[in-house]
């Protein structure tokens, strides 16, 4: 316990590092997965290759992907960019199918009436289809967020500092306190991410907040 | 025979779904339970095969108390058809139908032959045997559901809104075939629906339930429409009861007036000879085809010029059918045909109504 109190600064620094290493890929992943998911939906023939292809990327174990990144990006092994890109790949892998299925869950009647009122495909996507797909996309984002927070800690093994560094520190010094602190901080951070996404999704879908018709 | 003796279902929260139901479903006939949602009709049905256990009273099948039997054994002896068919997605059609025979331990080839026979019996092509449920339409799945319930040839069948989830045209077909099947098989059937039209169409006996599972009236369809016991039943039986009731009343004895008719290809002059505003057209076997207006005929009568609005009726059909034939005919003269569909003559709506107003014969409640 005293170790934790003496090292609050370190824990804070690691938490911040961890937060952005997990959050930035989440945003980038969502930005990339949205057009991919839309295309998979729009052009039926693309669905299987896109979803299966991104799904395969998700099978690669994180440590292997972190180590292979320099080979692909030409970066140094210690560069945090490796982690950001790898985590973005995982996020895209998870969210592409979510976006495609979320857009697919928008009722045909809604799309037809939007079209009948003269909305072009682009306007319809941004003002009707994506807003209605928010609940499904948010659910996928929550899974991706929790998974990202957990996976980022592995990057401690390639020397990128974040909460995972507490695990390696503690293990190599045979000292349990940092490990417990790291585990707790990771779980809290994951819950925090989860909460933020839930709140954002609620704000974006005011029509779901009011009770059903009497 | 199924007999409810004060059957009651009170749920743990105190809701009374069925409050002391007394009802007899006679052997070999169709008893329909009908009523608004919340009237406990499905609960009543599900108490028979103990999918829901009654909290009071008894339910007897052929004088055996269902409560004294092993629930699974009891159910294997009762056909069960539900709204969405509930086919097993992972089994082919033939295997779905074979479910109960297999539970009963029938041998392989008997089971298979029985299943194949039933596929055809319910009006499906034999080639469907190896298909999976998702390859069939809703109506086809429901036919398989009926075949599956019939597989072990149970004397008693429970049917819970079996035709509610299909479109009206298919529902009509399924109802017709169900009646045909029942006329061949003579099962004791308890049938639940929320649709009073379906109830009076299919039921030999209709039991109307009110909310809380209380029996409001039980009667044959004609009596129900003609003589509802109270406002609730009257409201539920709906509009046009008098007219719909005619469906259960045999046509009054009438002598159709002979109708001058022409055949296809008749010249305009010939058509005008009768002097009538509308002239009936028949084929070479004197089967009615439609009506033409002589005033508009400029060339020999052809099928595409015919007015086909009128329905045709038989003398031994229902009052409703014969009145409808008169009302729907553009000439005001309803076409009456014999058993082979050949023209007998015509009647007017005034004649039908006049005949209906004279006192009914001794048997006014019989089925058509």
């Amino acid at each position: 316990m005293t170790w934790i109190l003496d090292h609050l600064d370190d824990i804070g620094y690691y938490t911040l590092q961890h937060a952005w290493l997990a959050a930035l890929p989440l945003l980038l992943g969502l930005l990339l997965a949205t057009p991919l998911g839309w295309a998979a939906r729009r052009y039926r023939g693309l669905y299987t290759p896109v979803v299966a292809g991104t799904g395969l990327l998700y099978t690669i174990p994180s440590l292997a992907l972190f180590i292979l990144m320099p080979l692909i990006l030409g970066t140094q092994i210690l560069d945090p960019v490796n982690v950001v890109v790898a985590m973005t790949i995982y996020t895209v892998a998870l969210l592409t199918r979510t976006v495609a299925d979320g857009l697919g869950a928008v009722p045909d009647s809604v799309i037809a009436s939007a079209t009948a009122m003269g909305l072009g495909p682009v306007r319809r996507l941004f003002t009707v289809e994506l807003p209605l797909a928010v609940p499904v996309i948010a659910a996928g984002l929550r899974v991706a967020a929790v998974s990202n927070v957990s996976i980022v800690s592995v990057a401690a093994l390639i020397g990128v500092p974040q909460l995972g560094s507490l695990f390696t520190d503690g293990f190599y010094r045979d000292f349990l306190d940092p490990i417990v602190a790291g585990l707790v901080a990771c779980v809290v951070l994951a819950l925090l991410f989860d909460l933020v996404i839930v709140v954002l999704a609620r704000l974006l879908t005011p029509w779901l907040r009011t009770g059903g018709a009497p | 025979m199924i007999r409810f003796e004060g059957a009651t279902k009170t749920f743990p929260d105190g809701t009374v779904a069925v409050g002391g139901l007394d009802l007899l479903a006679a052997t070999g006939s169709i008893t329909v339970l009908v009523g608004p949602s919340g009237c406990g009709k499905t609960t009543s049905l599900r108490m028979v095969n103990r999918m829901i256990e009654p909290t009071g009273g008894r339910i007897m099948i052929d004088d055996r108390d269902t409560a004294s039997m092993d629930a699974a054994q009891l159910r294997r002896g009762i056909g069960y058809v539900i709204q969405h068919a509930g086919l097993f997605p992972h089994r082919t059609i033939v295997d779905n139908i074979a479910t109960v025979p297999r539970l009963l331990g029938w041998d392989r080839s008997t089971t298979r032959n029985r299943a194949l026979e039933l596929i055809e019996r319910v009006g499906l092509p034999a080639s469907f045997a190896g298909r999976y449920p998702h390859q069939l339409s809703g109506g086809q799945q429901q036919r398989v559901g009926v075949a599956r319930a019939l597989a072990a040839d149970p004397p008693v069948m429970l049917m819970d809104e079996p035709f509610s989830a299909v479109d009206p045209v298919v529902r009509e077909q399924l109802q017709e075939e169900f009646l045909r099947l029942q006329s061949e098989l003579g099962k004791t059937i308890l049938f639940v629906t929320h649709d009073i039209d379906e109830a009076v169409k299919l039921g030999d006996q209709v039991a109307v339930l009110r909310v809380g599972g209380v029996l409001a009236q039980v009667a044959d369809p004609a009596t129900l429409l003609r003589d509802p016991v109270d406002d609730f039943v009257a409201d539920f039986a709906g509009r046009d009861r008098g007219y719909r009731g005619l469906g259960f009343r045999p046509a009054p004895s009438l002598t159709p007036r002979s109708e001058p008719a022409v055949t296809l290809g008749t010249s305009p002059e010939e058509v005008r000879r009768s002097g009538n505003a509308w002239v009936l057209v028949v084929d070479d076997d004197r089967r009615p085809l439609g009506w033409v207006e002589p005033a508009r005929v400029t060339e020999p009568v052809a099928t595409d010029r015919l007015h086909r609005g009128g329905t045709v009726a038989r003398l031994d059909g229902s009052s409703r059918a014969i009145l409808d034939a008169a009302l729907s005919s553009p000439s005001g003269r309803g076409v009456v045909v014999d058993d082979d569909g050949c023209l007998l003559g015509t009647v007017t709506s005034a004649e039908v109504v006049a005949a209906l107003q004279s006192p009914p014969g001794p048997d006014s409640s019989g089925q058509p």
């Binding site: 440590l63 180590i67 292979l68 991706a144 998974s147 957990s150 | 539900i82 992972h90």
Partner: protein, 245 residues
């Protein structure tokens, strides 16, 4: 890139007590054992939860909550807590296997109970109504229809186990992870990248195996691989069970 290829094709790395075949064998042994134990525990439990609806709340929260726990931290904690009480190799092997099992249970459990839960209520009702007993409903109707999600859960668990077994090299376990960890510690990029390629290939192969298994044991009536299919039969078959390290 050339160095990695050279490392992978060097015959010396394919022989002996620290060669690729042996490490691969170890990796498969650790992963297979953990998956087997987890499946034996979690499949029946998940089917039971799905069939009876009992313990559902617990199952949902345990399998959801464990997703947030980082596997690396769990592994280190397990070694430090249990290792000293066990002697020799067991001090590494048993805690590692235990962690692998703990991480494999949630996706398998979730797949099994979600699989049973999403079985068409009408089919279940019909099964009971035709006189199937509880276990007959489970074996003849619920399990065959739950198969896509049961296997999906097993696949997720297999990936999780293969990935975490790689990390277990840091605590001294064998397996393909050795190449990555040893490469890291001596700054031999060719070795760690070569190992990473092997680990990635193994993961892909395992997933492919899972896909084949799915094709073999799931009825075409459930997957809809027979042409026309309705929305009802497709629904739920694609629930994603993500849990990885």
């Amino acid at each position: 890139m050339n160095d990695v290829l050279k490392w992978l094709t060097d015959g010396a790395h394919w022989r002996g007590g620290e060669g690729i075949p042996l490490r691969l064998g170890e990796h498969l042994l650790y992963s297979g054992l953990a998956l087997l134990v987890a499946a034996v525990l979690a499949v029946p439990l998940g089917l039971w939860v799905g069939h009876t609806g009992r313990g559902r709340y617990l199952a949902v929260n345990v399998s959801g909550g464990l997703r947030a726990v980082p596997s690396l931290g769990l592994l280190f904690a397990a070694i430090m807590l249990l290792g000293p009480r066990l002697s020799g190799e067991a001090g590494v092997f048993i805690p590692s296997e235990l962690v692998l099992v703990v991480l494999a249970v949630p996706p398998i459990l979730a797949g099994a109970y979600a699989g049973v839960e999403q079985v068409d209520a009408a089919a279940r009702d019909a099964a009971r109504g035709m006189g199937m007993r509880g276990w007959q409903v489970l074996w003849q109707v619920e399990v065959p229809n739950a198969m896509p999600l049961v296997i999906s859960g097993l696949r997720s668990a297999a990936l999780q186990v293969v990935a975490t077994a790689t990390l277990a090299a840091t605590v001294g376990l064998g397996g393909l992870g050795r190449f990555l960890i040893d490469g890291l510690s001596v700054r031999d990029y060719a070795q760690m990248a070569g190992g990473a390629v092997l680990v990635a290939a193994l993961a892909l192969l395992v997933d492919l195996l899972g896909a084949t298994l799915q094709r073999l044991v799931v009825s075409p009536g459930v997957t809809g691989q027979t042409g026309r299919s309705t929305a009802r039969t497709r629904r739920g078959g694609r629930l994603r069970l993500a849990l990885r390290s």
